[in-house]
Amino acid sequence: MEILKANLLSPIALAFALGIVTKLIKSEFSLPKEIYTGLSIFLLFSLGLKGGVELGHATFDSVAWPVVVTLALGCVTPLTTYFVLRVVGKFSVSDAAGIAAHYGSVSAVTYIAAMTFVKSQNAEPEGFMPTLLTLLESPGIHIALAIGAIKTAQPGQSLKAVLHEVLTARTMILLVGGLLVGLAMGEKNWGSIEGFFDTKGPVFKGALTLFLLEMGIVAGSRFGDLKKVGPFLLGFGVVMPVLHGALGTWLGTLAGLSVGGATVLGTMAASASYIAAPPAVRVTLPEANPTYYLTSSLAITFPFNILFGIPLYFQISQALHGGG
């Protein structure tokens, strides 16, 4: 309970809640799109840079197993999502594959929130976590879209376009590019820009708080669609992340990650993308209903993870590491 309370009273959770309330009282307020975009560029590039600098310190042995389990998670989560939706939820192939693409991928914002949370609990995660984020980002989308495209007998050429789109999207450029820049410049040069880009610093935390306010508004604007998606998807949006979160935390622990690192990996597995996946799904699987995948990932799973999921995965991780 203490941990849950600490999370709910954190600036980012409160700003997120304020954003939701803003929409619930039907305020017109939202961040200008350019500022929202600018903040996300800053947050992602900071992560990439810091991750690259830290990756320079990591040994091959410490990274190898976490990389393997991350790739395994990237392949498993879209499949479990797809089969649960098809078999239990009786969704159509397109709808199940569309939602699976979202749940197989990662929400970068949820990841950042998890990183910030575990640091606040003095459980410093491994420095190479951003590397794992980039590895988990794309396999899920592709596996799910491939299932959808094969099952609905659509031409495969659009999958290549989707691959290009996902790999050249803003998130990937900033994260992977930032990693490479950080790795190349090393600790010595990092000092000169640390004051601005430090992911533990006040600038980053302030930007994150402002960003979560806007994310609350975006999530809140989808709440009206909650009644359209039916009770199954409402339950699915909470149960699926808990299962994937527990699985990710367990695999992370097996791979040798610390309490913080396993929590963050679990959170990544639990999260559902709503920035990279929607346009890719819209173009590749036009029959999939956007109301289903946007509402479940953005209005259910995202708020659940930010407010309740992250502290839950943290406790699972603590228990798995033999403390608590």
């Binding site: 975006v218 604007s221 989808r222 346009p279 819209r282 173009v283 036009p286 956007p290 946007l294």
Partner: protein, 100 residues
């Protein structure tokens, strides 16, 4: 001033379709096009974008034949599953040879 009578096709579509639509316009014989960001509400309501209600408005001036080809393509490829509306207006343009 000497003017020539041509057709202007206007498409309002969800933003993910911008690239697909504009490349198809050129393929079907258009010499150029204009895209503007727009907002609105239609029968489908929801968009696969972070900002609900955002659309792109694509305008293109072409011959009557090309206009027909564009409408036919949009009807077959996009009307069934996407939020797209299309209409044609007759326009009088200067420098008519720029467009055909």
């Amino acid at each position: 001033m000497d003017t020539v009578t041509l057709k202007m096709v206007t498409l309002v579509a969800e933003p993910v379709l911008e690239e697909k639509l504009t490349s198809k316009l050129l393929e079907l014989g258009a010499k150029g096009f204009t895209v503007t960001d727009s907002r609105g509400r239609g029968s489908r309501g929801i968009r696969a974008s972070e900002v609900p209600g955002e659309s792109v408005r694509i305008e293109v001036v072409v011959s009557a034949k090309v206009a027909d080809a564009i409408l036919e393509h949009v009807k077959q490829a996009f009307f069934p599953n996407y939020a797209v509306i299309a209409w044609v207006t007759t326009v009088d343009v200067v420098r008519g040879d720029k467009y055909v």
